[in-house]
């Protein structure tokens, strides 16, 4: 337990300065940007608005203050949970995140579960029948999948399952005609995005499971289990897979940035109403308050994922605990 606490403290000591630096960099980029928020706010009216009114808006928004003071105000607001108002949707950022975050967590969470289960089965199958046509198909497929852009996979899935076969909806959260959100409807809309996200993230995991199961299958305790006459399934699942599993947890933490990337693209392709797709909309509208909040959220998600992976690893592997690594 002490090792876990120390590791958490260590991680947080790294995460907090990083998040602060991220806010500084974002603010500096916004300052250097040629976009003028006031002009953007006024739109075509900018041509007919008198300079005094423009100055009044600037003063009202605090844009005439020194840069450092502007940053301090913005940062202070962020810390106190005041994320500001979205410039494109004209609603509080917290409200937008609040209603979208759940959908993103639902989609990425389901994708993670599917990715884990699927990769374990497929990777173990490939290792168990190593060198066979099945193994070759699986490894080849994993390599091809790793090279295919996820948004392309998404479009391919839409073309096959929504356009040609007509089995599943092409995107959105519910049918366009429905006025309420029913679980069955959402589930039908969830299948394609979740599967595409899971598949796009699973190549490395399948190859990793395959390689580590192959490695473990040669170990003495597996040969011993076989020699004791245990069933093949018991040998694979109870002995080989179990010890091949451990290092994943840290690897999964290291893959968090890719998961965020995948979520952005998949949510956009399938018009899923989550926070990841909102970041693209915010970027297209140059909506700094919303985009900055979502970028921070993405970074925090990666850091939290790393932390969770490390905690799980420390709890799962007693060797790390006694050695006090981290």
């Amino acid at each position: 337990m002490r090792a876990v606490l120390r590791m958490v403290a260590w991680r947080v000591a790294f995460a907090v300065p990083l998040l602060v630096i991220v806010t500084i960099v974002m603010f500096a980029l916004a300052q250097a940007s040629p976009f003028d928020p006031v002009r953007q706010y006024l739109g075509e009216r900018a041509l007919v608005t008198s300079p005094e009114v423009v100055e009044a808006i600037r003063a009202n928004w605090g844009l005439d203050r020194p840069v450092l003071e502007q940053y301090a105000t913005w940062f202070g607001n962020l810390v106190s949970g005041e994320l500001g108002e979205s410039r494109s949707l004209h609603r509080p950022v917290t409200e937008i995140i609040g209603e979208r975050l759940g959908w993103t967590l639902l989609a990425t969470g389901s994708a993670l579960v599917l990715m884990f289960a699927g990769s374990l089965v497929v990777g173990t199958l490939a290792a168990w029948r190593r060198g066979s046509w099945l193994d070759r198909v699986i490894t080849g497929g994993a390599f091809a999948n790793e090279s295919a852009p996820v948004f392309w996979l998404g479009l391919l899935a839409i073309w096959i399952f929504a356009v040609t076969l007509g089995w599943l909806p092409a995107g959105g959260l519910t049918d366009a005609a429905s006025t309420t959100i029913s679980p069955g409807d959402v589930a039908a809309h969830l299948i394609l995005p979740v599967t595409v996200l899971a598949i796009s993230q699973s190549s490395w995991l399948v190859l990793y499971v395959r390689e580590s199961v192959i490695g473990v299958l040669r170990e003495d305790f597996v040969i011993g289990a076989r020699a004791r006459g245990l069933r093949e399934r018991t040998v694979i699942v109870r002995h080989a897979l179990r010890s091949a599993l451990l290092p994943f947890l840290t690897l999964l933490g290291a893959r968090m940035p890719e998961l965020v990337t995948g979520a952005i693209l998949v949510e956009t392709v399938f018009s899923w109403p989550g926070v990841a797709a909102a970041s693209v909309q915010a970027a297209l509208a140059v909506d700094f308050p919303l985009l900055a909040a979502l970028t921070l959220l993405g970074t925090a998600a990666v850091l939290a994922g790393n932390l969770l992976a490390d905690i799980a690893y420390t709890v799962a592997d007693p060797r790390v605990r006694t050695l006090g690594v981290g």
């Binding site: 250097a32 852009p149 392309w152 839409i158 952005i264 970027a283 990666v302």
Partner: protein, 268 residues
């Protein structure tokens, strides 16, 4: 292996030689032949305004490859410089720089790319910068570990005891050894950089829409996909998939060959 080499060779030939020879205008709009399925005249069909998808894909690959190459070079220069500094200075600077590397690795790259591109009007330069600044960490790691191992070699010690300054050692003795590693890392980075360019363009945040880049084409083709015209968005994707897969297959082979022991262990 052979297929991968051939794929790369054919694509390289198409990208380098085809445009000057064929003299066809990829941006030629021909509404009479809009949305045609693959045929003899148009092997991969035409898009919704009648442009030939195959021809445009080749041009798109050309644009995407150029942007990807420049972005990869930018990230290698940044990463190489930081890795070299960390490895040769050692001590506190090294530890600080490695923390910076850890920090960059914790960032969701695409999200930061989106952030940068959004604030500085979508353009090839913005894409190059956004990919370059977020992807130098791999090069930095490789160069640093290589420098650390080179530092203990006799020829470096000999140079130092012979009175060579730090800069001279770096230039004359370290850089020549680092170059092959950097070149390989750049080659491996190019497909990833192309991926980033296409992802940004696909989101409407990358290259300007009139440029035929693979991401723009996939984005344009999205609408007609819903009416069944699969070719205009799915074909450009194949032009991303094929070279990426070919390069990763070749890299895998190269790795196997350079560490035969590891390979033989796996074969056992």
């Amino acid at each position: 292996m052979r297929i991968a080499t051939w794929t790369l060779a054919v694509l390289a030939l198409a990208v380098l030689v085809l445009p000057p020879i064929v003299q066809l205008d990829q941006s030629l709009v021909d509404l009479r032949s809009a949305g045609q399925p693959p045929s003899f005249a148009h092997p991969f069909g035409t898009d919704e305004v009648g442009r030939d998808v195959l021809l445009r894909s080749v041009y798109g690959l050309r644009v995407s490859f150029l942007v990807g190459l420049v972005a990869a070079l930018v990230s290698m220069v940044i990463g190489g410089a930081i890795g070299l500094a960390a490895g040769s200075l050692g001590g506190l600077p090294d530890r600080l720089l490695m923390r910076v590397v850890d920090g960059f690795n914790a960032l969701p790259h695409l999200l930061f790319g989106i952030f940068i591109v959004a604030l500085f009007a979508p353009s090839a330069a913005a894409v190059v910068v956004s990919v370059g600044v977020t992807h130098w960490t791999t090069a930095a790691r490789i160069v640093r570990s290589e420098v650390l191992s080179l530092r203990t070699r006799p020829f470096v010690e000999a140079a130092v005891s012979g009175g060579a300054g730090r800069m001279r050692v770096v230039r004359r003795h370290l850089l020549p050894h680092l170059l092959p590693h950097l070149v390989l890392a750049t080659v491996l980075m190019v497909p990833h950089a192309i991926w980033h360019e296409t992802a940004l363009s696909f989101l409407g945040l990358g290259l300007p829409p009139h440029l035929a880049s693979l991401g723009n084409m996939i984005n344009d083709g999205q609408r007609s996909l819903l009416t069944g015209d699969w070719w205009s968005s799915l074909v450009p994707g194949l032009f991303i998939l094929a070279p990426t897969l070919a390069i990763s297959v070749l890299a895998q082979r190269w790795r196997d060959r350079s560490s035969p022991r590891w390979r033989s262990e796996l074969e056992l």
